[in-house]
Symmetry: C2
Subunit: 131 residues, 2 copies
Amino acid sequence: MMSIGTLSKQSGVHIETIRYYERAGVLPKARRATNGRRIYGKEDAGRLAFIRHARELGFELVSVRALLALQERPELSCKAASELASAQLAAVESRLNRLTILRDELKRMVRACKNGRVVDCRVIEALTNMP
Amino acid sequence: MMSIGTLSKQSGVHIETIRYYERAGVLPKARRATNGRRIYGKEDAGRLAFIRHARELGFELVSVRALLALQERPELSCKAASELASAQLAAVESRLNRLTILRDELKRMVRACKNGRVVDCRVIEALTNMP
DNA sequence: CATACATCCTGTAGTAGCTACAGAAACAAG
DNA sequence: CTTGTTTCTGTAGCTACTACAGGATGTATG
């Protein structure tokens, strides 16, 4: 049981953003105290942290909702859940591949620099022609 | 040497977005034909594809500019380039870690489903308490 | 109890990064 | 020369926030 301010501090998400997420439907309508203020439990902090990570990883709110749906609809058939998860999995693996390539190129540059050599940066070539 | 339409088809980036990138300064001001239309070379397609990948990976345009700067300023000292690359590298590795965790959880769910078991989804827990 | 200050509320407006459309000019085909 | 496509500039709309304004409520202190 905590206020929106406490939740904000705990999750690192701005108060305004929390209210926005409620409006946008990625957070459920918060329970209200008798004075009208929003009250949250600790599971909300988890959900919020998840949304933040997913957003930072490049998923839009539509995809975040899809991922959250996996968590919150145990009545979903195995098949439906698996299809949802598979689709997200494909997107995640594609990102992973490209991030790995980018990382390797950045690493190469830093390493070359340590050896005192002039760096030639090929981040563009590295990512341009991707599978 | 190609028109904005051809570049758009080749790169998969909308014409309007290409013009927006020029305005936003992630693409250089395009050369113009005598009739005023923009002309591009094939290096522009590469740069554009790179921007698109970087954006999909969750980098904002400010970071994209930083990455592009690495490529396009050979006059940068080894130290400066290395610092720029290191900073981006840290951001990339953080994303890689979280994406890997998310992927493993999605894989686990799909696998459990194949075995006919009811899935319990733990994507939230997986990403909530991250280093 | 009164005053002060923090926290919350709703609502609206601003920002980044696109995306879409309107209206005009230029080009290309028949 | 007409028709249709492409491009131009400019503006308006969209998503996902972010930042206020103005008001109500809560808490701490003299």
